[in-house]
Symmetry: C2
DNA sequence: CTGTCCATCCGTGCCGGCACCCATGCGCGA
DNA sequence: TCGCGCATGGGTGCCGGCACGGATGGACAG
């Protein structure tokens, strides 16, 4: 009860599944140095919570959420509270998501497939601002990341332009070239040209992969 | 330590995310009458666990899992251990999967959006063989279900057959008809025939909508 | 000013998705 | 037994995705 020990880190927990929130909360609250002080069920609530409480140390964010995805929320939170650490918690151990998360301002990335100890350690790492003491098993991802950092390349740029992203979304939503052309008042051929450039830049094969990319990146909802 | 009290129900917990398993386990083990005695990370492991332990009372199954989905596992478990109660735990409060779960032999259906108390109550209901004391908030689903039962219509027909679901997944993953045909040792024309039937049954327009449907339904990962 | 990047557009050609048409064999329930 | 649903296969034809080739004008930096 004295203040001899450092007070526990104040954590905002964001997941659209109450059950998952409860479970993660039980895991985190079991640690003396961690304390969940707020919960949110989607990105908008998370932003609201961070706006009303400036004493938060860490946000644990699920990626797949309705309305505002975790990635969108992360961008917003990073803008709103630059001091807030962000840990992405996700179903996907996918490399695409990993870099999307970094670009969105995340300090850490934890797949839900990890054990509870790893989550706790990831929280502590993020709180110490250690960028990526990575909770096991993600060696391929880590190696790739570290390679890029060491080679001085920094984070890979997202190559698509604004216009291309606009077309990307519309294509991923299932519109044909003609529909998109009508919508944007350009020729369907131009749409196809953009689409081809996007596919080439992102290393994708067709609209279908593009759709899944857009969903992963939080650009559209499934 | 005496046997004056009824021993706790022996539960098999199945989810592909270790973190979710851990959280749910903490919730269930906190109840004196519930005890998680086995865990599995996919459907195949779940079946193996049920095969090697005939004293299980309840299986809590996630629907969206790699390799064998929770629905397939539920069918197998219901066949293997008729006395075993099955509770489906899922991200989706989708009507399709609600009825699909019932058909697969589930005694209960709990979205992950419910609170922990509701999960506990759903477990107890399933263990008492009470078919659907439903954990709150699913009024639309419940109402629809009750309406159908009251109107004597019974369960709606399963929209897609097993074979069709198999093709559905492969199509949604981006394989061409020829690839799928080679994979399943059937003609690409048959694949196209199935695909056409699926699109018609589900009211979808093309592969792209089908992909998003499959992602929503948890059949594939983005 | 010149080069580069971006957005805009065009033609040609292949291939696959998808909509129609058709038939066969099998199992199951009315 | 007869129909029905399911899985299997085929044919034809249109259209759109996508690859490949080309061009132009405008913005901005070196």
């Amino acid at each position: 009860m004295t203040s001899a020990v450092r007070p526990p880190a104040r954590i905002l927990l964001v997941d659209d599944h109450a059950l998952v929130r409860r479970g993660v909360r039980l895991i985190l609250d079991g640690e003396p140095d961690l304390e969940v002080v707020a919960e949110a069920g989607d990105g908008a609530e998370a932003v609201a919570a961070a706006r009303s409480d400036d004493g938060l140390d860490l946000a644990v964010l699920d990626i797949a959420m309705p309305r505002m995805t975790g990635l969108q929320a992360a961008r917003e939170l990073a803008r709103l509270r630059p001091g807030l650490r962000i840990l992405m918690l996700t179903m996907y151990d996918n490399e695409e998501y990993f870099f999307e998360a970094l670009r969105a301002g995340a300090n850490g990335y934890v797949p839900k497939s990890v054990a509870d100890r790893d989550l706790v350690e990831a929280c502590r790492s993020a709180l110490r601002d250690e960028p990526f003491i990575y909770p096991g098993a993600e060696t391929a991802l880590i190696r790739s990341y570290l390679d890029r950092v060491r080679s001085g390349a920094g984070l890979p740029e997202r190559p698509v332009t604004e216009r291309e992203e606009e077309i990307l979304k519309l294509v991923a939503e299932g519109h044909t070239s003609k529909e998109i052309g009508d919508l944007l008042f350009i020729s369907p051929k131009t749409v196809e040209r953009h689409r081809a450039n996007i596919l080439q830049k992102l290393g994708l094969r067709d609209r279908l992969e593009l759709t899944r990319y857009a969903i992963r990146a939080g650009l559209i909802e499934p």
